[in-house]
Structures are given as structure tokens and as C-alpha cells.
Symmetry: C2
Subunit: 440 residues, 2 copies
């Protein structure tokens, strides 16, 4: 394919989306990557560059001449430039910044100043601003003049002389209004905005709730400092979902993709939770030791431990999953805690009774020779008690975590399983000893 | 607050976003809901109606006069009308359809015909279409004339006389071009489109990848039938994430929110997996029975079972979580299976060695009187073997599920834990018996 037929490749590339070109280039070997990249027309090159992985970006920057780097950097949106700079080593950052004009450099530095998870860190400073006494046709003139480099032109923000945000107007409204209309009369004055230090997850949730295309970011004095666009919100939503899912799977979150992350980093991100949970699980082990007399007298009891532990763990996982997700989507708030407890208890009783019934059936079939009444009484009662405790813990712990400003996603299956295990073993042996003490 | 000060409430409402009004109205009791809703100005009323829960919508429709219902229905976008109709009982649907004009009724029926998870089911038929020989100023005329009722006007689709999609042009390009430019010369001809029957999850992923504001939906003959907008894509992304997370937590997916779902439905959505996993876990129990001789001779062995089972389960959960998420985000494809196996083995060896080392340390501290060398050899070797098996299963099963056209999210923590439990118990007792057979 690349026997120097650059012309044909160029035509092929021009017909493709930047994200697809980036994906394709990602599979090409390191030597040929810069050659193929140079085939791209200037604007497409910059758009493709943004979509590439950071290690390929670094490789390209190192291969670029000053002129080529300048061409790419010039076309970048401020927020994309920030994303790239955050991933690059210091010497590469210096080279990039040398090719930005002073206005862009100021914007980049401003955005870099905001904390990692804040609205400020994901915003862009390239928006269209209008004044309230402009007419619609003046507004269009301004959009035509300044719009090329803006990330979105469809929502324009109206600011006063102090840069304070006083209104917004969409291009749709502008198009549907006569040319001599004054902006002030058509602009929306009740504006939903976010502050620079607001959590980016909350900002992304607002896009989900309100279906906005962009959202203005203001400082404490209500001065407009930037906007967040829906595409960045989608990225944040996916990132936050990945982070939650990883935390729920006993992993420390990894930002890179699975295949790009080296083995030692995977191991590092897994070992902390594994050690913690392994050591917690030994508590359950120690408790079992205390009941040695019971299970050496009646070894069949041991055979029920995995079933009880797993069922308890699964019940807790189900409840915590529902609550963690509900909290993440703002469908549940900590003040619902009593409602949740009441609901989980009722669910637990229904579920526990069914499980106990099926379990009794199984015991009568499999252990009909070994006192099935005793075995089903012990395991059935233990099951119901375990399910109730598991569902209560699963329902309540994520909310308590939220109240303690911890991430509810930490209170997921792995941790709850370990806690429920301990409870279920204690319950199981105590019920067994109690019923045995009746001398049946 | 509502001592009949309707005027003030109206002013308050007018300053609010529809989603917020809907949330507020959702907390109001059933009698007063229709009264408060009637205070809203006509257009805001329709927008608020869309944002409400289906049971409140039903309540309102039943309280509406024909006139009021007509006003609300008239303002609805086609895709919102479809969403509402899908949730309503047949008699309410009939009343709604009576108030739609024939064009809208046709569109509604068309969208309702598509399968539940298809692109067709989430699209809207309200888009701006242009012809290729129009000029920019003719295009603007058309947008002004027809744009009010369109869900988005910012991307306009160019169709030929057969309604075939031949190009698209954004309002940004229109604004930046001279008025006499012919659309044909500025339109983008390489268009990414989806087909009506494509999976809506794939469609949503395309928004994430390409940052589009809307995406055209075509039929098999490339005729334009509708568009999907970014706000619907965000909804699909969140829905699919919720569904995956619930499946990974051993739940059958629930579409309603946690608090709105009745107890019996929660129980129903949990019991299937619980029964299945409980019965699978009894296999582990039966296996333990086979080793009765071993653990009655050396009861302390039982104390290590929970630690081993939990650690195996957690290791499997970690791997499957990474792979399931990677598959959902298209970062991993089934052809990576060999790479994943090789990576997981290496991670497992690193992690297993560390866990075994810590475990040995713990045994020498806690069980120094009970042959710590034997105990740490048995548990250490079992740990390493369990971790390797758990990580292999966690890495491979989601991919096999995908290859079998099953949802990889089913191969998550709960199922893998159960499988790994069985393996770890077999490994543990066999290693114990083997080392015991040396007669140490």
C-alpha cells in the first residue's frame, strides 16, 4: 500500500475522519509514522494529532521540524493543547509552548492552574462573546469574524464591560430573529453556569440532565472564563464510569487503556486491594478456627461455608451496585438512607426465604441420610440472616462513604464480600451450635 | 408557598430549566401536580412534561382536558413523543395520537417499528434537509422557515431527489461562506452515517469517538430517514453503562430508578442470579466434603479457605473488570485474546508472588507453633496457582462471551468468583495432601 503512492494515500486520508486516521496510524510502526503523518493536509493533520495516543504524539513531536510543529500547534484548540501538554515530558512541553502565541500561552497556563478534576481543567477559553446592545446582524458579523477558531459558535455568551456573564443567545435564535433585533431583548438571562472549581463529574452530569451543547464556566465574581462543550462532557462521563467500574472491581483506576498499560503497572494497581482484602479475609479464617470443635464433630458443616459466603457476597454486591450507581446518577441522595434500609430489608426477606426454600429442597435430595431437618434449619436460618445483613451493608455502606466524602464506588462487592463473609461464618456456627444444644 | 400566589410561582418557574421544574414537580403530591403544571407557559409546559417520570406524565395526561393535551402534544419533538408513548397504557396512547397531526403520527409509527436497541428507535425525523444546488442564502431562508420545530439546525443534511444522503453542511460553514456560494461546493461529501438497524450502543460510541453533534440515520438504500442527536447519545451511554454495571453486580438490568422500583421487582431481578450462583457454589461444597479426611486430620486447613476463595475471587474480578470495560469502549477486540492471556499470566505471577510472601510472613507470626513451613508452603503455592487461574479466567471468559455473541458483562466478578472457588479448593487440598504425603 505505501510503495510511495503518497498521492493516493492523501486522497484516501482526506475522505476519512481524524479519529479513524489516528486509529490507523496507531497501528503503523514508529519509523513510518512521521512519513505518513506528513502526507496529511495541514488542518487535518492537527485534528488527527489531537486524536492520537500520547506516546505517538510524543514520537511525532520529536520527529517534527520546528516549522511542522508550529503548523500543528497553531491549529490546536486551547483545551486540546492542554490535554497534550499534561501528558508530555518537560522538554517537549517547552518546545510546544515556544510555538504558541502569547494569548494561547496565557490561556493554557490559566487552564493548567486549575485542579485536575475541576470544571476549569476541562474548559476551553475559545468561545464567542457578544455585548447586550449589539443587533443580530452585528452579532453575525462578529461570529463571521471570530468564529473560525472557536470550538463552538452555536451558543454565544453575552458579557458586560466587567466580563461578567449576563446572558446567552443561540445561533438558532439569532437566525430566527430579524436582523435589527437587539441582543438584549432576545437573550436568555436565566443562565445555568458552573464555577471553575466545581467537580467535573457534576458538570458532566448537568449535560446529561439539561441536554446543553455547552455550559459557561465563571469565576467567583461571575466573570466568564471559559466554556465546557458536550464532547468534553461525554469524555468525562466515560472516564468517570470507567473509574467507578474499576473501583468496584477492586482496582485502582488506570487512565491508559488495558493493552497500553505495562504489566508492572497493572500489578501495582491490583496488589493494594488484594493485600488489604486478603488480610481482612484471614479474620474470617481465625473465626472459623474458634469453631473447630463444631466442625470436627460435624465435618459436613464445612461444605456449606462456600455456598453461604458466596451468596452473602453476591447479595451485598447486588445492593451496593444499585446504590453506587444511583448515587453516581444523582437518583439517590444520602437523605434517602432510611427508605433504602427499609426497602433492602424487605427485598432481603423475600430473597432470603426463596433461597432458603430452594436450599432445603436441595438438602433433602442430596443429604437425605444425614439429618436433613437439622441441616436445612441451620443453613436456611443462616442464609436468611446473611442475606439481610449483606443487603443492609450493601445498601448503607456506599451512602456512609458518600457522607464521609469518600467515593461510594469503594464500598462495592469486594469489600462488602469480605465483611459479609465474617458475619456469615459467625452466624452459621452460632446457629449450628444453638440448634445442636437442643440435643436433636 | 402555594397559597394561590400563582403569579409569583409562574415567574419563578419561568426562570428555571425544564429538568429542574420536572424534578420539583416530582416531589409534589398528586392532587396539586396538575394545578401547578397549568401555571406553566405553554412551551415551557411541554419541555417540562418531557423531563418528567412516566407515572407523573400519565397522571397529568389523565387530568388534562383535550385542549391542554393538544397544546402539550403539539410542542413535542417526535423522538420525545415516542419515548412517552412507549411507557403509556394503550388508552392513553390513543388519546395522545388523536392530538398529533398526520405527519407526526406517521413519524411516530415509523420510529416505533424499529427494534428496541436500534439506531432507528432513538432517532428523530425532525432535521433540516437542503438541496445541493441551493445557495447559502437560500439555505438560510429554508432554515428560518422550517428551523423552529427541528431538534437541531446546526448540521443540515443534503439529499438528492430520491431522498438519498449526499452531503452535510454545518451552520458554521454556512455563516463563514458568502451568501451566493452553492451548497454543493462547500458541503462535506464523506459522511459517516448509521443504518436504522445498527445497535444504538455502537451509535453512542461513535459520538464519543468523533465528537459529532448529530449523526444521520439512513436505510439500506442510503435514504436519509432521521438523525440522532448528541443528547440522545449521552442518554444511551449512561443507560448502557448502568446496564453493564448492573450485570457485573449479578443483577438483571432495571430501567427505572432504584427508589421508583417496587420491592418485588427488585427481588425478581436479583433472585435468578442468586439461585444460579448459590447452586453452583454447592459444587465447591461437595468438593470440600471429599477432603473431609484431610481437614479433620488438620482442622487448621479450613481456616485458610475463606482467604483463598476471596483472593481468587478478587483477582478474577479485577481482570474481568478490565477486560469487560475495555471491550465496551472498543479498546480491546477479541483478536487481542493471546496478548491478554500473556499479560494476565505475567501480572498473576507478580501479584501471586507478593501475596504468597505476605501470607508466609503472616503465618510465621500467627502460627509459629503449628508447623509454619508446611502451612506457608501449602497456602503460598495454592495462592499462586489460584491467582494465575483466576486472572486467566477473568481475562479470557469475557472475550469468549463476546465471541459467542453474549454480553461480556455477564462474565464478571460473581460468576468468575464461583468458578474460581471450585478451582481454588481443589488446588488447595491437593497441594496439602501432596505435601503431607512427603511425611513432613
Amino acid at each position: 500500500l505505501d510503495s510511495r503512492e503518497f498521492g493516493r494515500i492523501r486522497v484516501l486520508f482526506t475522505a476519512m475522519e481524524p479519529a479513524d486516521i489516528a486509529e490507523l496510524l496507531g497501528e503503523i510502526d514508529e519509523q513510518r509514522l512521521p512519513i505518513l503523518f506528513r502526507i496529511l493536509p495541514k488542518e487535518l493533520a492537527a485534528e488527527t494529532f489531537v486524536e492520537m495516543d500520547s506516546d505517538e504524539q510524543e514520537l511525532l513531536i520529536n520527529a517534527f521540524s520546528e516549522r511542522e510543529l508550529h503548523d500543528v500547534v497553531e491549529e490546536l484548540f486551547v483545551d486540546d493543547a492542554v490535554d497534550i501538554i499534561e501528558e508530555m515530558p518537560a522538554n517537549v512541553v517547552k518546545r510546544i509552548l515556544r510555538h504558541t502565541d502569547s494569548e494561547m500561552r496565557n490561556s493554557i497556563n490559566e487552564i493548567l492552574r486549575y485542579p485536575k478534576d475541576s470544571a476549569g481543567s476541562i474548559m476551553t477559553t475559545e468561545y464567542v462573546s457578544l455585548k447586550k446592545d449589539m443587533t443580530v446582524s452585528e452579532a453575525f458579523d462578529r461570529i463571521r469574524r471570530t468564529g473560525v477558531d472557536k470550538e463552538t459558535i452555536y451558543t454565544c455568551y453575552v458579557t458586560d464591560t466587567d466580563r461578567k456573564l449576563i446572558g446567552l443567545v443561540t445561533v438558532k435564535e439569532l437566525l430566527l430573529s430579524p436582523y435589527n433585533t437587539v441582543i438584549n431583548t432576545i437573550m436568555e438571562k436565566n443562565i445555568i453556569s458552573v464555577e471553575t472549581l466545581d467537580d467535573k463529574e457534576e458538570v458532566a452530569n448537568m449535560f446529561d440532565k439539561y441536554d446543553f451543547m455547552s455550559l459557561p464556566v465563571v469565576d467567583k465574581e461571575n466573570r466568564l472564563v471559559g466554556i465546557v462543550t458536550f464532547d468534553d462532557a461525554i469524555d468525562v462521563i466515560q472516564e468517570e464510569n470507567t473509574e467507578d467500574i474499576q473501583k468496584m472491581g477492586a482496582l485502582q483506576p488506570i487512565e491508559e487503556t488495558y493493552l497500553k498499560t505495562p504489566v508492572w503497572r497493572h500489578a501495582k494497581n491490583r496488589i493494594v486491594w488484594l493485600l488489604l482484602l486478603m488480610l481482612s479475609a484471614t479474620i474470617t479464617g481465625s473465626i472459623i478456627e474458634n469453631y473447630e470443635a463444631a466442625f470436627t464433630a460435624l465435618p459436613i458443616l464445612v461444605a456449606f461455608i462456600p455456598m453461604l459466603m458466596d451468596t452473602g457476597g453476591n447479595c451485598g454486591a447486588q445492593s451496593s451496585t444499585m446504590i453506587i450507581r444511583g448515587l453516581a446518577l444523582d437518583e439517590i441522595t444520602p437523605k434517602d438512607i432510611m427508605k433504602i434500609m427499609f426497602k433492602e430489608i424487605r427485598i432481603a426477606v423475600v430473597v432470603g426465604l426463596i433461597l432458603a426454600a430452594v436450599n432445603t429442597l436441595r438438602i433433602y435430595i442430596m443429604y437425605s441420610g444425614q439429618d436433613p431437618l437439622f441441616l436445612s434449619a441451620v443453613t436456611g436460618l443462616s442464609l436468611i440472616a446473611t442475606v439481610v445483613i449483606a443487603k443492609m451493608l450493601g445498601g448503607v455502606l456506599p451512602i456512609l462513604a458518600k457522607l464521609c466524602k469518600l467515593d461510594p464506588a469503594l464500598m462495592a462487592s469486594p469489600l462488602i464480600t469480605t465483611i459479609v463473609d465474617t458475619c456469615s461464618v459467625i452466624i452459621f456456627f452460632n446457629i449450628a451450635l444453638w440448634i445442636m444444644s437442643w440435643g436433636i
